[in-house]
Amino acid sequence: MRRGLWLVLAAAALAIALIVPRAGVPVFYVSLLTQTWIFAIVAMSLDLLIGFTGLVSFMQAAFFGGGSYAVAIVATRYGVTNFFLLVAIGIAVGVLVAAVFGLVALRAEGVGFIIITIALNQILWGLAYQWVSVSGGDNGITGFSRPAVGPFDVSDNAGFYHLCLIVLIIVLLFLLALVRSPFGLVLRGVRETPRRMRALGYNVWLYRYLALLVSGGIAGLAGVLFAWYNQFVGPTNIALDQSTQLLIMVILGGIGTLFGQVLGAGIVVFLSNVLSSLTGRWQMVLGAIYFIIVMYAPDGLIGLGRRMLRRGQGKRVAPVPIDQKVPGMAGEET
């Protein structure tokens, strides 16, 4: 019964989302929604690490930016215009960056892991910023356009909006299946108690590494979309700022929820764009809003919603504090 209700709600939300660009919504908002779908994809890939594997990573922008740079470089230098080939290249580069960085970062656990991911992300940013002959340095790369998906032209706003929405739905369904599978259960076990997993015979390192590869591939895919969205790639795509913003999206929506990351991405994208058009001090206001959400809904907006639903049914539930949701943050022995 409740499952049916949720399906109806999801279908309704999807129907509304699909008709948005044709329903007279201003182009500005269509474009913000497009950005939301793209960031939701990366935020979900980060949530696979934070919420389901217990890895707090600040190098998601490296996977994301890696995918962006890969398509930009391949398209401008080698004239590749095949949509599927470009997508495959973006995913492959995301996986590759994750494979290399993972080897280094996974030598540490907890806080050590976090610090190493920050350093690695900076390295790739430095490379993008300074290896001018390949990356264009601060000027970035322009001069490529959105390729057609087979017979479908997605170069206009509406077409590209639909492309991003469809990719988001595919990734969401993929991740929902993944976290419910035996493999997903193993990841959750690794998140909860790595020590026990080893005692049961699981190679904890391997599962963390595999989760990084999957996450890197998805972030790379989102990077491809973001490159096409802006039709420009620059070092800011890869900067630590970007990683931090992704982390904020994951936390605002609710760690370990996947759906929440769509909300989290939406809030960050809309608030930063709408507030910046209202006031010069928009970043201060944004900070205050993040603060309030984390203080009063440490389990994110999805968690807040769940608690309000249950309270409606007469049950009171306390939120799970953020440091208990993320093993690395509690600094516990792993």
Partner: protein
């Protein structure tokens, strides 16, 4: 020679030393456990019992010496590979997956050596056989009605029972039990003791325990540790009669 000794025993430690910096926790430990044996390890607090378990299970590396498990030298083998050989353990402080349900906790134990653990596109609840096996395990200790509850919300005694269920779920060849009855009220402790005594699978057990009634009830042989050294090793009668043990550990009470 090594192979000959190793094939005869389930577990053999030779000249095992473990130092943390200048602190020597285990010194020249050597003993063997035969297949099917139930061995107790006793010793005062700080004798190195839990460190010994961590060294056997591979959680912490040895400083020197060798550990043979089921005929193989596992001294340098990581913990998860030792587990795959058939070694299983419980922890002194309950070490479960707090935010997973009781069933999920046991499914993780049951699927550890199945190829299914890499399966990404099927719900783990759709593997009915494994799910039912988990429920049967819970039923054995009367926890079936807790199956869908998050482990964190269970009582301490219930968690201890799941801790042991998780260790025996895959029928290990060697089971290390680190104070399985610690902190349990008498009634629950005897449930655990019964669970261990009634196991007829011939599983080899090594048990650390402070409660002497549990020790004398369950084990066949004892190893006594004192300040990181084995000071006595033998049958219950031998240990009871040992002057050394009387003086430094049992306080002449037995």
């Amino acid at each position: 020679m090594t192979a000959a000794i190793a094939t005869e025993t389930c577990l053999t430690l030779r000249a095992v030393c473990k130092r943390f910096g200048s602190l020597s926790v285990l010194e020249d430990i050597g003993f063997s456990v035969e297949h099917g044996e139930r061995r107790g390890i006793i010793g005062p607090n700080g004798a190195g019992k839990s460190t010994l378990f961590n060294v056997i299970s591979g959680e912490i590396p040895l400083t020197s010496g060798t550990v043979h498990l089921l005929g193989r030298d596992v001294s340098n083998m990581p913990a998860h590979q030792r587990a795959r050989l058939g070694l299983s353990r419980t922890f002194q402080t309950t070490t479960l997956f707090p935010r997973l349900t009781a069933t999920e906790n046991l499914i993780l134990a049951l699927q550890a050596d199945s190829k299914d653990r890499f399966q990404c596109f099927r719900s783990h609840t759709s593997f009915r056989e494994r799910h039912d096996e988990a429920l049967q395990l819970l039923d054995r200790v009367g926890l079936k009605d807790r199956a869908e509850m998050v482990v964190d919300s269970l009582g301490y005694g219930e968690k201890r029972q799941i801790e042991i269920l998780m260790a025996i779920a895959r029928r290990p060849k060697l089971l290390l039990l680190d104070e399985p009855t610690a902190g349990l009220p008498q009634s629950d402790a005897s449930l655990v003791t019964e669970m261990l005594k009634q196991d007829k699978s011939g599983m080899t057990m090594v048990l650390i325990e402070h409660d002497m009634s549990v020790v004398f009830d369950v084990v066949d042989k004892l190893t006594v540790l004192h300040y990181g050294r084995v000071i006595a090793d033998g049958t219950l009668e031998q240990i009871r009669a040992d002057q050394n043990v009387q003086e430094i550990y049992l306080g002449g009470k037995l």
